[in-house]
């Protein structure tokens, strides 16, 4: 008798849970990124920005397709490609059609391959890969496929902007390149060498080095080498704890030139750099935060602050991702047929609240947008990061950066 009661209770409970999930949000987006471990802060902040963007830009405006709402579901991949593939399968099994990921191009490479394979084998439940931050150029070149869309500028586009800035500064004669030892770090180094030799052949690359990702406790030996090399500027693609550790160590050990970076803001990094990073840290990124480019951007940021007082918007491309997806679903008239949605996304021109346009190139699914060189400072900052007095301010803007950059992508379309 007891057993039957228990069985009944369990099945009733599972029915309730099942029903609850069936009535929840209509369009789910799987967010596969590190939510634990050394890069947890980067992943969690990305998830918050996604959840907020979905809520503010879509759900509060009445949803898409006459009332369907967005829901972002977090999946912890522990920054491991293997774990990501398991999480991808879990997400697909839950009926999720939109996958987003950004931290680590190593993971993105594994995901894009797996998704391509899955979509070929299962034409009935295909998924789209919305890459919001993995910037290995190969993803929109040799390894491109129809299902992958990149909303961030790739490493080459960003490096083009960085090297423009370096080339115009005649004081810089010696450059040190350092990065994490995986596909992205190697892509940064290759792009830096290529662009520098084209734009300023007189600049000498005095060091070009990779270090293990997420495993270095103390960056002092690396910064010693940088100082000893006599470099005038440093280029690094580091992110997360590796960015802060490297940056702090370089500055504390006596380097006083500019450090050109991709990801040295937010997630506690800005506050931790504080006064030390002023005048040294330069960032290349797509969205302009300070001064606020539009009134909508300021309102968006304030609403975000109201919800996450300790949070930052350090990846404005996330709101572009959500906005463009919503627009594509609306235009396609369906959220279930991802092929139609993908055709709408390709070639889309989108008015970003962060100023300027975002254009999704049809031939390689690479977003083309305005790129900014920003500096870490406490002067002229409207929206600070990490609850500190510091933030990033735009120094230079490159409109529709690398619009005509070549691609080796040969896309097969269904």
């Amino acid at each position: 008798m007891k057993k039957i009661v228990k069985l009944g209770a369990v099945s009733a409970l599972s029915l309730i849970v099942g029903a609850a999930s069936a009535f929840a949000a209509d369009i789910k987006i799987a967010f596969i990124d590190p939510l634990s471990g050394p890069f947890a802060s980067t992943g969690t902040n990305g998830l918050h920005q996604f959840e907020f963007a979905a809520d503010y830009m879509v759900n509060q405006q009445g949803g898409v397709l006459g009332g369907q709402t967005f829901e972002v579901v977090g999946f912890d991949n522990k920054i491991s490609p293997k774990e990501s593939l398991i999480q991808l399968q879990v997400a697909i099994d839950q009926g999720i059609r939109f996958i987003t990921q950004g931290n680590s191009s190593g993971v993105a490479n594994a995901l894009t391959e797996a998704i391509d394979k899955h979509n070929r084998r299962n034409p009935d439940d295909r998924v789209l890969f919305l890459n919001y931050a993995a910037v290995d150029p190969a993803l929109t070149n040799d390894k491109c496929n129809f299902w992958h869309f990149r909303f961030d500028a790739n490493a080459d586009i960003k490096m083009d902007a960085i090297t423009d800035s370096i080339a115009s500064n005649q004081e810089i004669e010696r450059i040190y390149i350092i990065g994490q030892d995986y596909s992205f770090g190697k892509a940064v180094s290759a792009a830096a060498n290529r662009f520098l030799s084209e734009k300023r052949p007189d600049i000498e690359v005095v060091g070009d080095e990779l270090h293990p990702i997420g495993k270095v406790k103390d960056f002092t030996p690396y910064s010693r080498k940088i100082v000893a090399s006599g470099a005038d500027a440093v280029i690094t693609g580091n992110w997360g704890a590796d960015m802060l550790g490297l940056g702090k160590s370089i500055i504390e050990n006596g380097f006083d030139g500019p450090i050109y970076t991709y990801y040295a803001a937010g997630s506690g990094i800005t506050a931790a750099f504080g006064e030390t990073g002023k005048g040294a840290i330069r960032l290349v990124s797509e969205g302009q935060i300070n001064p606020p480019p539009t009134d909508e951007a300021a309102a968006y940021y304030q609403a975000f602050k109201a919800k996450y007082p300790d949070g930052n918007i350090d990846q404005s491309r996330i709101s572009n991702t959500i906005g463009m997806l919503a627009q594509a679903i609306e235009a396609a008239g369906t959220a279930d047929d991802v092929v139609k949605v993908a055709y709408e996304l390709a070639g889309m021109e989108y008015e970003s609240i962060w100023g300027g346009k975002v254009f999704m190139r049809e031939e390689d699914h690479q977003a083309i947008q305005d790129i900014h060189i920003q500096e870490h400072t406490d002067e002229g900052i409207t929206f600070t990061y990490d609850g500190s007095d510091y933030g990033v301010r735009s120094m230079k803007r490159i409109e529709m950066a690398s619009m005509d950059s070549p691609t080796t992508c040969q896309m097969k379309r269904p």
């Binding site: 947890a40 931790a272 990490d386």
Partner: protein
């Protein structure tokens, strides 16, 4: 030449920091025969507590109070956790400390979140002490060296020159006899555990501003601490010191100089393969010392375990 001196100092700082962690761990091991997996978590707690206290009362009060709190917590863990689990044998003890490590990491994330904490070097020490050929040595590093050496000397003095130290050493080897002589052995165990974790706390307090205060900090340092005490010999304070310094210098020098494997192999008379891209040993030939610097201590540990299983200074043959 100057760079060698700079690297010696940098390696010393890394080594001494590692020593403060491994000293406590090795004492606890020799006493209870159990590896405390949560040791690095106490290091992390030290950094977070010190950060929280430094906001209100400044860095120096943090340095004073945070290790005390960590030590009291450690003693509490021994008294109310480990002592109860002890009767079931070593495996449950191991699992207990392992679970504790996970629990502390989650707890830290729950309270402080997953971001980096802006815990920074105090202004008094935020200047360049001196420079060697353009390489500045921050005053904070000198401060770290002095704190660690002071702690080592203090610990050595207490253990070898005082009555308390004698009782501790006796309790380590012959707990039953010491108990029969009327000493409270469980209290000694609790005290040693508390002091050991407090040492980890001190390490956290002074390492937090330079190595970063974030929830992954225990994970990054966790395994290397065990390697240190295995190399030094389980239970040996001198062994912990020598092994820490050895690891500090090995990793620092390996990262500072780009020694390529191809140079070494060529040096001992093996010519490079004609076509590197298609060679089966391509990865071996292209490896450089900074890439493998962080696994060198593990290679050293394997060597030690093969040729001298009791470690450099270990006495026990278990």
């Amino acid at each position: 030449m100057e760079l060698i001196l700079v690297n010696l100092i940098d390696g010393l700082v890394t080594g001494l920091l590692l020593f403060m962690l491994s000293a406590g761990l090795t004492l606890i091991f020799s006493m209870m025969g159990v590896l405390n997996f949560a040791h690095a978590s106490f290091y992390m707690l030290g950094a977070y507590f010190a950060y929280q206290i430094s906001i209100a009362l400044g860095f120096w009060m943090g340095l004073l109070i945070a290790p005390l709190i960590v030590g009291i917590m450690g003693a509490g863990v021994e008294r109310y956790g480990l002592r109860r689990v002890h009767q079931y044998g070593h495996v449950p003890e191991l699992i207990f400390t392992f679970g504790l490590a996970l629990l502390i990491e989650e707890l830290v994330q729950f309270i402080w979140g997953k971001n980096q904490m802006p815990y920074s070097v105090p202004d008094v020490l935020n200047f360049t002490a001196f420079a060697i050929a353009g390489n500045s040595i921050p005053a904070y590093k000198i401060f770290m060296i002095f704190i660690s050496i002071a702690i080592f000397i203090g610990l050595l003095y207490i253990l070898t020159r005082t009555r308390v130290g004698m009782i501790i050493q006796a309790a380590l080897s012959y707990p039953r006899t010491v108990e029969a002589l009327g000493h409270n052995v469980p209290l000694i165990f609790m005290g040693v555990f508390g002091v050991g974790t407090a040492l980890a706390g001190v390490a956290g307090v002074i390492a937090g501003p330079v190595l970063g205060t974030f929830p992954g900090m225990a994970f990054v340092l966790g395994s290397i601490v065990f390697v240190t005490i295995v190399i030094g010999g389980l239970g040996s304070l001198w062994g912990a010191l020598v092994a820490s310094l050895l690891i500090g210098w090995i990793t620092t020098f390996a990262k500072s100089y780009n020694i390529a494997m191809s140079d070494i192999l060529n040096g001992i008379g093996i010519p490079s393969p004609a076509d590197l891209d298609t060679s089966a040993f391509r990865d071996l030939w292209t490896v450089t010392s900074p890439q493998i610097a962080d696994i060198l201590p593990y290679i050293l540990m394997v060597m030690i375990l093969i040729f001298r299983p009791q470690g450099l200074f270990g006495k026990r043959q278990s």
